[in-house]
Symmetry: C2
Subunit: 236 residues, 2 copies
């Protein structure tokens, strides 16, 4: 993949899901040369890594790398361990769900800060949002602001007066708003993957929290859901 | 390695160097069951990884793990890349040296926060100090405080009222004070490695910044320096 960009480099945290694909499209619209990074941290839903590569290519990323992170720190979650992924929305209200992965965005953003310094990028994009989200504490604006401050005290660029900026264009958007914005920017959502518990053919389960948020988002956005769901009668 | 601890678990960032060995000894003295983590991030001075394992064992750590982190984010430093390690103390005063590794402690601490949550540990020990140090921004108390705040906004334990604590017992100590404290606690400094540019036999160069700080520390502490230095006439 080559870039014809002459604009500023940026680092994009690209998971292969719907949100980060939309963020990449927004960063491209804003003229950034987008260097995407996807993490391989032992997640159960590894099909998102291949999806991220497809998304990066389709949206004209300047580069895409898959960074290996030792999975030890990410254990004890339904997304990485032996705990079953819950289905059907039976979560406990505002409680942090079992799909929470310890310190995930903290680690991902820290890695992105290092990568940004190496690449000479000041802007780091992450697709967190605090409305239609899953109750993860590391998706809140309060965390992002505190992280940005800490990061700029840790780095040469921060100390020398060129601080990094953590950009969260989705932070206050609903899932439906995100899907409409991405559709307007030409995001091919058929390439993205959200499911926490896909089957062996890479089809989404349709029942996990990520699938339910995604399905509801397409419905509310009035956009046809291109997701391949496993099992009869699961397709909306 | 087995632990007979009944006390609280803690995560110790163990580099294999002098400082973190001393920190481990302090955490053991304070009764913690010490789970040590050493990072393999493509560093030039990889002999520190084996040193860390020896140090962990000699000081009765409850566990020691080597965590692999994709080296892409750590590039562009004399410690990881093709830049030569400077010798002889010709650094630029207060400038950040070429041995600075982008966002290193930010990434290491973030990983430790995830690991601590997995292990049920609240305390994370890191051997940063802001006196006899190398001008790295991520060794300052101001960064550590900001990081701790961000981390506790990112994690389930932080949000639910059991915040992690980043412990920096060396933060205001000189290298000589660190060596004296560690000697009193029985640290075998012969097991530790500080050099940024060891030879093929694992002998310290004696001339890089880390060697110079280490040598001066032993001299000022009045403790015999057990370091194996390469070349004739280099041993203090």
């Amino acid at each position: 993949m080559r870039s014809s960009e002459t604009n500023q480099p940026a680092v994009i945290l690209l998971s292969g899901g719907l949100d980060s694909a939309t963020v990449l499209a927004m960063a491209r619209r804003d003229g950034f040369a987008c260097h995407c990074v996807t993490f391989d941290y032992g997640q159960r839903h590894r099909f998102e890594i291949a999806a991220a590569a497809r998304v990066a290519e389709s949206l004209g990323a300047a580069s895409h790398r898959v960074a290996q992170l030792d999975p030890a720190a990410f254990a004890g979650s339904a997304l990485t361990g032996d705990i079953a992924v819950p289905k059907g929305g039976g979560g406990g209200g505002n409680a942090i769900p079992v799909t929470y992965v310890p310190a995930r965005n903290l680690i991902f953003l820290s890695y992105a800060v290092g990568l940004a310094e190496v690449l000479g990028a000041r802007d780091i994009f992450i697709g967190v949002n605090q409305l239609d989200y899953s109750g993860y504490p590391d998706c809140r604006a309060e965390f992002i602001a505190a992280f940005e401050r800490a990061a700029n005290l840790a780095t040469k660029v921060g100390v020398e007066g060129s601080p990094c900026r953590i950009r969260t264009p989705l932070i206050d958007m609903t899932k439906a708003q995100i899907i409409r914005a991405g559709t307007d920017l030409g995001v091919e959502y058929a390439l993205t993957r959200s499911c926490y518990d896909p089957d062996q053919n890479g089809l989404a389960c349709g029942g996990c929290e990520a699938c339910m948020l995604r399905r509801a988002g397409f419905e509310r956005a009035g956009v046809a859901d291109p997701t391949g769901y496993a099992g009869a009668g699961c397709k909306a």
